[in-house]
Amino acid sequence: MSDLSKTLILLLLFALLLDLDAFELRKGQKTERISGSAGDVLEDDPVGRLKVFVYELPSKYNKKILQKDPRCLNHMFAAEIYMHRFLLSSPVRTLNPEEADWFYTPVYTTCDLTPNGLPLPFKSPRMMRSAIQLISSNWPYWNRTEGADHFFIVPHDFGACFHYQEEKAIERGILPLLQRATLVQTFGQKNHVCLKEGSITVPPYAPPQKMQSHLIPPSVPRSIFVYFRGLFYDVGNDPEGGYYARGARAAVWENFKDNPLFDISTEHPTTYYEDMQRAVFCLCPLGWAPWSPRLVEAVIFGCIPVIIADDIVLPFADAIPWEDIGVYVDEKDVPNLDTILTSIPTEVILRKQRLLANPSMKQAMLFPHPAQPGDAFHQILNGLARKLPHDKSVYLRKGEKVLNWTAGPLADLKPW
């Protein structure tokens, strides 16, 4: 009896201790849990919630392209390649297509690089079309749903519109064959032609090791108020100004170039990453496209992102409550940026920093190699899992056709 009572007392004490610990943690906590509109889903494990079948395409669609230009592994569009590698060895992969919920087509459309290292999108629609023709003729799963349970990764500037220039991209629209598929892309803007309903927005690829190697101790005091490095005017392509970034970056420069609180310039310092860790706010204005790796860098380095891009859709918008983490500023309010930023209450700023310090937040923005739990790969899979189970309308009746295989500019219809 006495033994039993002793163990009971010990258990009680233990529980008390744990409770005290938890209490203390809550008081002086460094981070805060992140839950977006879909709930507290950042740390979900997709394994067991979905099955993905990876089509075996001939290597001319993926391996050969990469062999031709290995620079594709390091630029900001590299997510498509790393996602393919991740899926090949992931536990969600299934070799039996009958039980798959989602189908993945590994085609590297953003790997045709100029000598400068920038991807040309002119052949991408043909490449994609050719890949889809292949999978629709060799497997029955495409025709079963006309692509509604297939997903594609299109990390280019304007996603599946396959053009770097916004007007051209809008004019082209999303590739007609991808009308029913789920698109995983970096571009996101509300009510824009190139963002279709049900797409998953992801962050651009940023090299994780490079950023980790530039970390400084968190006790270094943050003394820069606002930090930005980049172009304000794109003199080569927009000499008159007002076109690039819809005039927002130029407005930032003209209004704040002599303001001591704003550390902004076009220089390329070697201490760029370290400086971001010493800043309270980091500007993330749009450029030729609304998204940029600056957002990822700001999150990794704990600098509150100031997002100046009207109607932008940020990565994993349903899992991450970006309004609580970053500061949205309308482009028309840029001249009042200093008033806006200084009028944010201190508690709000400290809370944002706590949210940013959450390691699961930082993990969700990265594409590490090898993959780690909670990283961007897993968030993509979580997003796909949240779309399950498929609606009945996804499966077409026999002989029913929705897609128009001859739609689009004539040049796209040529074989690749």
């Binding site: 008159e240 005039g247 030729w288």
Partner: protein, 521 residues
């Protein structure tokens, strides 16, 4: 960032600028037709483009086609109707004020919501006075302060201990200089400070007045003996004063970290953050600034006289812990005083190098519990304070190492002594130099330059008489010596040390001139 380079390279590859400039006008037209067909409108625009190029050639600068656009804007509204529902905005000016946006809204055909974000040229918005607002700058600084405070709470020292600073001092010319510096350093710390100031010659009001300017908690203790003139004796007395302060810590059971801050030393704020890490007794590296202020010698001469051996033995001016490669304490760096033997200063104010002792007190910090009476608070490798100092503090101990039985237990701080965060310096005036008490000039000085309007009327300047000449010459003699006697029996003022010779002479002359008419102010 990279996106711009992307665009740049595209255009460098041959897609000319004209493509981009035409696009707001062209794309809508091309949208309706495929690239293969050329509509009359596109041919028209091509001709217009050529015309503009010719005009630009003639004019010598780039001729904006916007002019044509506005000329024909009314007729071309219909031409701009597109299948897509995007609007195109044009602006008139984009430099100074808020722009005017002219938007064309074609009748909406599809049911999709039109995006409020328009593609095209926008104005660059600049507010009327684009300069920093001081109120906002202040607010931003408050924000930064709050952020840094939070950072310190989270990543800095978890529970900062009280700092017990022990400083021996005494009233002298340079006291205000040194003590003010130390006081301001301590006032800048984010930690609680208890400052024990031990004053040789008893606690004086002058020092108390100086200390009262700070808002620190100060224990002002008088030490009954006067500070001796010779450096050797002075070092000994300082040790005794520090022991007296340690006794106070012991009696009052002050809790915290004890550090020895000499008033003439210079401390960096990082030092105080670093010593919070000490557990029992720690040592930091002290930079030794032992320099002669004597400028009579030719500095180049000194260099030539130092031969090769002395160069090699020339000391790194640092005293502190020495570590091996695995960061464990193996010994001590001390200042090599041998090369200065015989040329160092003997008494305060001597114009020669003042040497430190082997290991200065200021390089050590310890947990205050080491000096408490009860033995259970301290580890057993610490000797009790009373046992070390026999009697009433007649003997002195050279450095806190005497308190420690096993000196390998001393913790090296500041990345194992590699970082020097405080500097030892001894700069003093001669012991008999005079200075205004409290550095308040009271009663005010005599005037040195006669004003145009004097309160005693416009009497013409008198020629100095013979007797007065004698007085002035003696005063001039006296300026050679530091201390001078009073000039007239009436004035009780004594001249202060180190005043400029010129002003002294004019002073003497003026005072001689006006001696008959002087009014005591």
């Amino acid at each position: 960032m990279k996106l711009q380079a992307l665009q740049q390279s595209y255009f460098n590859r041959g897609r000319s600028n004209s493509f981009r400039n035409q696009s707001p006008l062209d794309s809508s037209i091309d949208g309706a037709t495929t690239a293969a067909n050329k509509s009359p409108a596109s041919i028209f625009w091509l001709i217009l483009h050529c015309l503009c190029c010719l005009i630009s050639l003639v004019l010598g600068f780039r001729f904006s086609r916007l002019v044509f656009y506005f000329l024909f804007s009314t007729s071309s509204i219909n031409n701009l109707y597109t299948a897509t529902t995007t609007d195109i905005a044009e602006t008139l000016s984009f430099t100074t004020s808020i722009n005017n946006i002219r938007s064309f809204s074609p009748p909406v055909v599809n049911t999709t919501v039109a995006s409020r974000v328009v593609v095209g040229r926008h104005g660059i918005r600049i507010r009327p006075w684009p300069h920093p607002d001081p109120v906002e700058v202040m607010k931003a600084h408050k924000i930064i302060e709050a952020v840094q405070r939070e950072q310190r709470v989270q990543y800095g020292i978890k529970s900062p201990k009280t700092l017990i600073v022990i400083t021996p001092t005494y009233v002298r010319t340079f006291q205000a200089l040194h003590l003010t510096g130390l006081m301001h350093t301590l006032m800048n710390l984010p930690y609680d400070v208890v400052w024990i100031v031990v004053e040789a010659g008893g606690a004086t009001n002058e020092t108390a007045a100086l200390l009262a300017k700070s808002k620190l908690e100060i224990k002002h203790i008088g030490f009954e003996k006067k500070m001796p003139i010779f450096w050797e004796a002075r070092h000994k007395m300082e040790s005794q004063m520090r022991l007296r302060a340690l006794r106070v810590v012991r009696e009052e059971k002050l809790d915290g970290i004890v550090m020895f801050a000499d008033d003439s030393n210079m401390h960096s704020l990082e030092l105080f953050d670093e010593i919070q890490n000490v557990e029992w007794i720690g040592a930091v590296s002290v930079g030794i600034l032992a320099h002669s202020s004597h400028s009579d010698e030719d500095p180049f001469e000194v260099h030539r006289s130092m031969d090769e051996e002395d160069e090699k033995k020339s000391p790194l001016p640092v005293q502190g812990p020495a570590c091996n490669s695995s960061d464990r304490l193996v010994g001590w760096h001390t200042f090599n005083s041998l090369i200065y033997k015989g040329t160092n200063a003997n008494y305060i104010g001597d114009m020669a190098i003042v040497l430190p002792r082997k290991l200065e007190w200021s390089g050590f910090v310890m947990n205050s519990r080491l000096v408490w009476k009860e033995a259970e608070f301290r580890p057993d490798w610490i000797k009790d304070l009373d046992l070390v100092v026999a009697g009433d503090g007649d003997d002195d101990i050279e450095s806190p190492l005497s308190l420690v039985k096993d000196s390998s237990m001393v913790e090296p701080l500041g990345s194992c002594g590699k970082k020097v965060m405080l500097w030892w310096l001894r700069a003093e005036a001669r012991a008999d130099s005079k200075f205004p008490s409290g550095w308040i000039i009271d009663p005010p000085l005599e005037m040195t330059v006669p004003a145009k309007r004097t309160p005693w009327g416009d009497a013409p300047p008198e020629l100095p008489s013979n007797t007065q000449k004698v007085v002035s010459s003696t005063t001039q003699e006296n300026t050679e010596k530091r201390a001078t006697k009073t000039r007239t029996p009436k004035s009780r003022r004594s001249s202060r040390g180190k005043r400029k010779h010129e002003s002294r002479n004019t002073d003497a002359r003026v005072s001689a001139r006006n001696s008959g008419e002087r009014i005591n102010l």
